[in-house]
């Protein structure tokens, strides 16, 4: 139990912060905790959560992905052309959108693994390429997404926001099984000590490639869900999501040095970030002061995780954190 708590300490803190924020948000919201309020909140959270998951797969293997927002923009623009029409046409459209996401991720991965270029440089470059493609597709925001599909996936199921159901499905159907495979373990091993992973006989190159492909897939899903929520295509959405996805994984207890953190933590981080934003909106604070207060809350949330450094009695152990 001691080990379990210690291993999940960062996540535990993230979830506690999230619950506290959510309660104060629902308490201050003029309409109160209705399904409608929850649905709007959950939709916004899920978009960022999917982006944060994409970032998580890059960070966990000691990388970083500056193209998360760009892939979202590109897939959003593709969706605004293809996710409409008959059921078969929409299914085809969704497959193309997700394939585009995976393709972008694999391209990043190939450049990192076989080009031996640092992830930060590769993704900075490819981000421009992806946004460029998105702008070619949609020089100005426009297009349309099938309203029925959008309603089906962005409203609620028996009073529970669909976005929350999707979040649970991602954790239960993708993350939990993945964690029990060699690939899931390999992601952490490569991020924590690439040499140890290699000497243990793990296929390090394949794992890195897989992590970027998964990252691309989730960036594509984020782009797709953004399309469903906004029902339009916009090439300019990227930069915001890239930076917020990085902030979200850090908030969720994922270490930027790799090897530490969980996907559920990254999701919690994204939800925290969006909830702080929503809280500000209804807080009655002057709009110009909101970024300042938002920043303070963010900093405080991160500081809680680092507070136990003060209790360390051997100064050398501080460096290991």
């Amino acid at each position: 139990m001691r080990d379990l708590l210690r291993a999940n300490q960062r996540e535990t803190i993230a979830f506690s912060v999230l619950v506290a924020l959510l309660v104060s948000y629902l308490a201050t919201h003029p309409a109160g905790p209705t399904t409608y309020v929850m649905t709007i909140w959950a939709n916004q959270c899920l978009i960022l959560a999917l982006a944060a998951i994409a970032q998580f797969f890059a960070v966990i293997v000691r990388g970083i992905d500056l193209s998360v927002g760009a892939i979202m923009a590109l897939t959003n623009c593709i969706a605004s052309y293809l996710v409409i029409g008959t059921g078969a046409e929409m299914a085809f459209g969704i497959i193309v959108v997700l394939a585009a996401g995976v393709g972008c991720g694999v391209l990043n991965g190939l450049l990192v693994v076989y080009g031996r270029i640092q992830p930060i440089v590769v993704t900075l470059a490819t981000a421009s390429v992806f946004v460029g493609l998105a702008l070619l597709l949609r020089p100005t925001p426009g297009g349309q997404i099938d309203y029925d599909l959008a309603d089906a996936l962005t409203l609620d199921v028996l009073g529970v926001p669909t976005a929350l159901v999707i979040t649970a499905a991602v954790i239960g159907l993708i993350w939990v099984p993945l964690r029990r495979t060699g690939l899931g373990l390999g992601l952490y091993a490569v991020g924590s000590s690439e040499q140890a992973a290699f000497q243990s006989g793990m296929p390090v190159a394949k794992i890195r490639l897989a992590s970027f492909a998964l990252g691309g897939l989730f960036a594509g899903l984020a782009g797709l869900y953004f399309s469903l929520v906004t029902t339009t295509g916009d090439a300019g959405i990227g930069p915001n999501f890239t930076l917020n996805s990085i902030a979200a994984v850090v908030l969720g207890g994922v270490a930027l040095r790799g090897g530490v953190g969980t996907l559920t933590g990254a999701i919690a981080g994204a939800f925290i970030l969006k909830t702080i934003g929503a809280l500000m909106f209804f807080s009655g604070l002057p709009p110009l002061a909101q970024p300042f207060v938002e920043g303070l809350i963010l900093a405080a949330a991160i500081a809680i995780g680092g507070a136990d450094v003060l209790r360390v009695k051997n100064k050398l152990e501080v460096f290991g954190r």
């Binding site: 373990l185 952490y188 000590s193 000497q199 100064k315």
Partner: protein, 509 residues
């Protein structure tokens, strides 16, 4: 000895070069099933390169490797593992952020990236219980384990993979004698079951106890292979170094009864790991700290060097009470305390920086010393015969022994009054060891007080003027002069007051 006729691994005319450096040249070498084959050689003799070739980490520049009589390219560790060639690396192959359990499953053969194999965990646990590893919790993070515990996990991990050829590279360097004996028992059992074992160790008595055959390497060449016992100690050493070393340890001077006290610790304690430790460090004396691993010895050094918060007890220097609360205070000329830490790769050196920059690190910010002046390092570089192309070479390119020389030089240049050393010869070749021993004795003679933590009891016996044996955070026995014997050290380490023969059965009850 049930030795088979075809070699599991045979190297023919194998060379390996890194740029201009020849790590191995034209080596013919074979290892058979059912034998324990020890590899002996100095640093840079090519032992580790040989191990890396056999375990698929690197590939030969020329020549070829046969596995079971068929020519094979061992393209990766995974490839070698699939053929039953399992290596336990000196540079630990455990992932620090994963738990013990996860590490045991990592890369288990036949699973690849698919579902994890939990059967290996049970096998590994059974092995751990045979080598005193019961206390290691499966859910503990590897980073939170001690070095010795990590080595135990490494051994269990390697053995749980059912090797046909087990490669042990300094596998037991941090383990104490009783655990080492248990590990050897397991290895012998595997040998008798037909497993081949390649064994690198710098502890000669371990090789003598374990090996069936011994191969000597020198300067990247295979010098000779012979049966254990064919040559005596002196002859083997001279084959390794190419010249004869008469004595590993320098002569001990006669004890000076009332040598001046430099530092005295009274009732020193910290957290729940150390309690009531009293040690006096005298001018010109080498004081040893012994015992099993993790009994608090390391914390004494860290405490003296200002790395621990809220320690108990007094620390007196020259009759004045002092408080050391930061390494910066410890290294200041007024106190003059230096610490050469246990793990040179993470705590002792900045591996990616040059030798020159590493050596400057300790002297920087010390009043009255010009860190940029190469002259303050030169005497120690000469005394230790540091081997390098230039001082601008990065430290990571040096062999372990030469890295340790850099770590030592860095602190010696300060002219400390008190030198704290944590296992300075761990995993280091014989020749470097003798150089370090000689240097420590000379330092002591020049009036430095030396506190030496050692896991090798030979060092306590032959190098130290007195020794404090730790058990469970306390000094259980203080030995000096002729009382420092292997029997006394082992008995005290196990907190027994009988002979080790009687202690054997109950030591870990």
């Amino acid at each position: 000895m049930p030795r088979s006729e075809t070699a599991i691994v045979r190297l023919s005319g194998v060379s390996k070069t890194y740029g201009a450096t020849k790590a191995l040249s034209d080596v013919d070498f074979a290892c058979f099933a059912g034998e324990i084959h020890a590899i002996l050689g100095e640093n840079g003799a090519g032992k580790s390169t040989l191990m890396k070739l056999v375990s698929g980490v690197i590939q030969p520049t020329s020549g070829h490797i046969d596995v079971d009589g068929t020519r094979t390219d061992l393209s990766s560790p995974a490839d070698a593992m699939a053929r039953g060639l399992i290596c336990m690396f000196q540079e630990l192959s455990l992932v620090p952020d994963l738990t013990v359990r996860e590490n045991l499953m990592l890369g288990a053969p036949g699973r690849g990236l698919g579902r994890l194999d939990t059967a290996v965990v049970e096998r590994a646990q059974a092995i751990l219980s045979q080598i005193d590893g019961n206390a290691i919790r499966m859910k503990a993070r590897v980073a939170d384990l001690t070095l010795a515990e990590r080595q135990q996990v490494e051994i269990a991990k390697a053995l749980s993979r059912n090797p046909r050829l087990l490669i042990l590279d300094e596998a037991t360097s941090a383990l104490n004698a009783s655990v080492v004996e248990k590990v050897f028992r397991l290895i012998r059992a595997r040998r008798d079951a037909g497993v081949g074992v390649l064994f690198i160790s710098h502890r000669f008595h371990e090789i003598e106890a374990l090996a069936d055959r011994i191969s000597i390497f020198r300067n990247g060449s295979h010098v000779e292979t012979f049966d254990n016992g064919a040559y005596d100690y002196g002859a083997i050493i001279s084959k390794m170094v190419g010249q004869r070393i008469d004595d590993l340890f320098p002569a001990k001077p006669d004890p000076v009864a009332d040598a001046e006290e430099v530092i005295s610790l009274n009732g020193f304690g910290w957290s729940d790991t150390l309690d009531d430790v009293s040690i006096v460090l005298r001018k010109g004396c080498i004081t040893g700290l012994g015992g099993l691993d993790g009994q608090g010895q390391g914390e004494v050094l860290q405490g003296l060097f200002g790395l621990l918060k809220s320690t108990r007890g007094d620390c007196m220097m020259d009759g004045w009470k002092i408080t050391v609360n930061h390494p910066k205070a410890a290294k200041s000329p007024t106190l003059g305390i230096a610490l050469v830490p246990e793990d040179r790769k993470t705590e002792g050196l900045v591996l990616e920086q040059s030798i020159a920059h590493n050596m400057e690190l300790a002297a920087l910010g010390v009043e009255g010393i010009d860190a940029g002046d190469p002259a303050i390092y030169q005497p120690f570089i000469d005394a230790l015969e540091l081997k390098c192309d230039s001082l601008d070479q990065t430290v990571s390119e040096l062999s372990g022994g030469n890295q340790q020389k850099v770590a030592l030089t860095k602190w010696l240049s300060l002219g400390p009054r008190c030198m704290l050393l944590a296992d300075p010869t761990r995993g280091i070749d014989v020749k470097t060891k003798t150089q370090i021993y000689a240097l420590l004795r000379r330092l002591a003679d020049s009036g430095v007080a030396i506190l030496l933590l050692s896991t090798d009891y030979e060092e306590l016996i032959h190098l130290c003027d007195d020794a404090h044996i730790f058990y469970n955070g306390r000094v259980v026995r203080q030995l000096s002069g002729a009382d420092i014997t292997a029997e006394n050290i082992i008995a005290a380490s196990l907190n027994m007051h009988e002979t080790p023969a009687a202690a054997e059965g109950t030591a870990h009850a």
